[in-house]
């Protein structure tokens, strides 16, 4: 599924990711944890294709296809989805319109038939119900005036609707209270399947109580410094990142 090899990324000439390698097979959920400034968000933006993130060496591929050669929309059409740490507000564009437009664009790029309007509405209602979101929220400008928690739910709603093959969750737990965290996690877990991969980027262990990872990696100073099973997350929770930060 996702293969990252010896990746080097600079922003404005300053190296942030420094020889990162990571492999996430289909059907698995991998967590990337690390202290602030370790390069967690840089990794997620680089995979999604944000401008200004210069890859100076290394590779990243999805099912053998070079991701780095694709534009952000092409990556989305191949099934890459990034749940943003800070989702953007789009005034004047209702969430329903936004999601429908995105879905149609992806269908078109993949040469698939368009989802019909009734089918689309049915699916949105289902997904919104699962996330306990009011349909009225979907008729207002996307994320405009939403709380941090509502924005995160909106990200997961988009994810449920777009049905990506590879999910990147960037600090999805930040800004969520415990109930919202559970609801959002249920949404994410609903997408777990043998042909999907998932990269969960987080600072805290608590999200991993709900989204159980198969593997946990520690990111420090721009590279993976330790990998292990779910127990690694618990160890980090107890002991902090200090020893890894020093080791890096």
């Amino acid at each position: 599924m996702l293969s990252i090899s010896n990746l080097h990324v600079s922003i404005g000439g300053k190296p942030i990711i420094d020889g990162l390698s990571l492999h996430v097979p289909a059907g698995e959920v991998h967590a990337v944890m690390g202290p602030n400034g370790a390069g967690k968000s840089t990794l997620s933006y680089t995979l999604a294709g944000r401008a200004g993130y210069a890859v100076t060496a290394g590779s990243a591929s999805l099912d053998g296809e070079d991701l780095l050669a694709l534009t952000p929309d092409q990556r989305a059409a191949r099934g890459v989805f990034l749940s943003f740490q800070y989702p953007l507000e789009i005034p004047g564009v209702p969430a329903l319109t936004f999601i429908r437009t995105a879905l149609n664009a992806q269908h078109k790029a993949r040469g698939e038939p368009e989802t019909s309007a009734p089918e689309f509405l049915k699916r949105v209602r289902e997904a919104a119900g699962r996330l306990r979101m009011d349909m009225d929220m979907l008729k207002r400008g996307l994320n405009v005036g939403f709380s941090g928690g509502e924005k995160k739910r909106m990200e997961i709603l988009q994810m449920l609707m777009l049905e990506p093959r590879f999910l990147i969750l960037d600090e999805t737990d930040s800004g969520l209270d415990i109930d919202a965290l559970r609801i959002v996690s249920e949404g994410v877990n609903a997408l777990r399947s043998p042909d999907r991969g998932m990269l969960v980027i987080t600072h805290y262990q608590r999200l991993l109580d709900y989204i159980r990872p198969d593997r946990v990696h520690v990111l420090a100073a721009g590279r993976i410094v330790a990998s292990g099973g779910p127990e690694l997350a618990l160890e980090l929770e107890r002991e902090g990142y200090d020893k890894y930060a020093r080791a890096a």
């Binding site: 999604a48 294709g49 944000r50 401008a51 534009t71 952000p72 929309d73 990556r75 989305a76 059409a77 989805f81 990034l82 943003f84 989702p87 953007l88 507000e89 789009i90 005034p91 004047g92 564009v93 329903l96 319109t97 936004f98 429908r100 437009t101 995105a102 879905l103 149609n104 664009a105 992806q106 790029a109 309007a117 400008g141 988009q158 777009l162």
Partner: protein, 492 residues
């Protein structure tokens, strides 16, 4: 949502293709007035139109006054001096004389309008074909009206909808009573020029208490090279009547600048309402070099003459090399209302100086201005607006909202509001914002599967949504597509 998909489809269809799809030329035999401007030319035009003597005198008077006037230079636009002698002031397709029905219109002209997507065929609607647009169209080609549809149908409700040249002959009293009562001959340089040489345009009269049974529209097409278009539109909504009127404009792509100096006058009597919508898509000139394009110097004004009358202007300005245009309302009647909803998009080397004037004369008059300016490329966009309340306009209220959106680093947006309150009992509110289309928003849209052009179209359509909602359905979809097409190539 379907319209939005259309927007995206259009952008995709146009990617790498021709940006301005109305830029073709219709090849047909035309007759011209001799080049240049003089009293003889004014006489020539008046004679062509078989006008009454008083009209010729009116034109000549306007011409003489124009000679003594100076071109205005206060707008934030920059262009080389216009040589008014280096243009044709009359151009018309050669045709048979006598009354014309659609069957007699040159098929080449019918094909032109078909290509532009303008419905000139009544049959489908009269035969009750589902989905056929119920819109009456006056098609103005260079200096003449070539067809006006649904006239018989409209006449049943007493509505007059015809070329103004014809109204001068058939309804002289009505025309004489209202012409130039909203925009006086010497109002400004371009309006005065128009008064001398205007060749055609639409005339609308809605009798008391009548709600016009269909949308009326005029479609202006400049075709001939080296000509200017000077149309004159006069709309009168008598007591308690209602009309919705649409205006569209296109022109071929040429290296020369062509002048379009129109005058539009609206009169709303007691309890009458006029809704006037424009989708202006004149050729904007070459986006790289700035060569060619239309100079759109237009005077549009409404007189809310009767108590409780209402006029609403909605404009989508995407074309023209230079736009100089301020659709305004004189709120004379007590409790009358004026509205101005505007989207002005400039790209390439375009310059737009546009806005409105809301002149509150009567008590308890209300006005509302929502102006959205979008600048891309190396263009300049200026909102210029006046809100004034006169001593008798007690209780006048205005709300103004001006939002500017910048795309890229080489464009500019300006907001120049003038506010005058000449009594202490009026309430004026003004809000203004300027934002740059953010890379973060663009990336967010792209990360969901939209390509760069579609992302811009989506964000911009969101920005102008309040105004698009004011347009009649048929135009809203068109306008939405136009917004996308106009901004093609604005992101790298």
């Amino acid at each position: 949502m379907a319209a939005l998909q259309d927007t995206i489809d259009t952008v995709e269809a146009l990617a790498g293709g021709e940006r301005y799809k109305h830029g073709f030329v219709t090849d047909l035999e035309q007759e011209f007035a001799p080049k240049g401007l003089s009293e003889d030319i004014v006489r020539f035009i008046s004679a062509k139109k078989n006008e009454p003597e008083w009209m010729l005198e009116w034109r000549l008077d306007a011409y003489r006054r124009w000679l003594a006037m100076d071109e205005p230079d206060w707008a934030k636009v920059d262009f080389p001096k216009i040589d008014y002698q280096d243009a044709y002031y009359y151009a018309a397709p050669k045709e048979k004389v006598g009354p014309k029905s659609l069957d007699e219109v040159d098929p080449e002209l019918l094909r032109t309008y078909e290509k532009l997507g303008i419905p000139l065929r009544e049959q489908a609607v009269l035969a009750g074909v589902e989905g056929a647009p119920r819109i009456a169209v006056d098609a103005v080609f260079d200096s003449v009206s070539v067809a006006t549809t649904f006239r018989a149908e409209l006449a049943k409700s007493g509505v007059i909808f015809c070329p103004i040249s014809e109204a001068l002959r058939d309804h002289p009293d009505l025309v004489r009573k209202y012409l130039a009562t909203v925009v006086p001959t010497t109002d400004n340089y371009f309006a005065c020029l128009n008064s001398a040489v205007f060749s055609d345009g639409s005339f609308v009269y809605i009798p008391p208490g009548v709600r016009c049974p269909m949308e009326l529209s005029t479609y202006f097409r400049i075709n001939a090279s080296g000509t200017g278009q000077f149309e004159r539109t006069l709309i009168i909504a008598d007591k308690g009547s209602y009309v919705s009127y649409l205006e569209g404009c296109t022109a071929p792509m040429r290296d020369e600048n062509q002048l379009h100096a129109a005058v539009v006058e609206l009169v709303a009597l007691e309890d009458a309402e006029i809704k006037y919508s424009t989708v202006q898509n004149w050729y904007p000139g070459d986006p790289e070099t700035g060569r060619g394009g239309i100079y759109n110097f237009v005077t549009k004004r409404a007189d809310c003459r009767g108590d409780r009358s209402k006029v609403s202007w909605t404009q989508v300005e995407t074309g023209s090399a230079i736009t100089w245009k301020y659709p305004s309302c004189i709120l004379r009647g007590e409790g009358s209302q004026g509205e101005f909803y505007s989207i002005a998009i400039t790209n390439g080397r375009q310059q737009a100086d546009t806005g409105t004037k809301m002149i509150h004369l009567g008590a308890n008059t209300r006005s509302r201005i929502i102006a959205k300016g979008i600048s891309a490329g190396r263009s300049t966009s200026t909102y210029r607006g006046l809100v004034s309340a006169h001593p008798k306009a007690l209780g006048a209220r205005n709300f103004t909202q001006c939002d500017s959106l910048l795309i890229g680093k080489d464009c500019a947006a300006h907001t120049v509001p003038y506010v005058e309150a000449r009594n202490a009992h009026c309430t004026f509110e003004h809000e203004a914002t300027t934002t740059r289309l953010s890379d973060d928003q663009l990336f967010y849209c792209q990360s969901r599967g939209l390509d760069a052009e579609a992302a811009v179209a989506l964000l911009v359509n969101g920005f102008v949504r309040d105004v698009l909602q004011q347009l009649p359905m048929e135009f809203a979809v068109e306008a939405q597509k136009l917004v996308a097409v106009s901004l093609e190539g604005s992101v790298g």
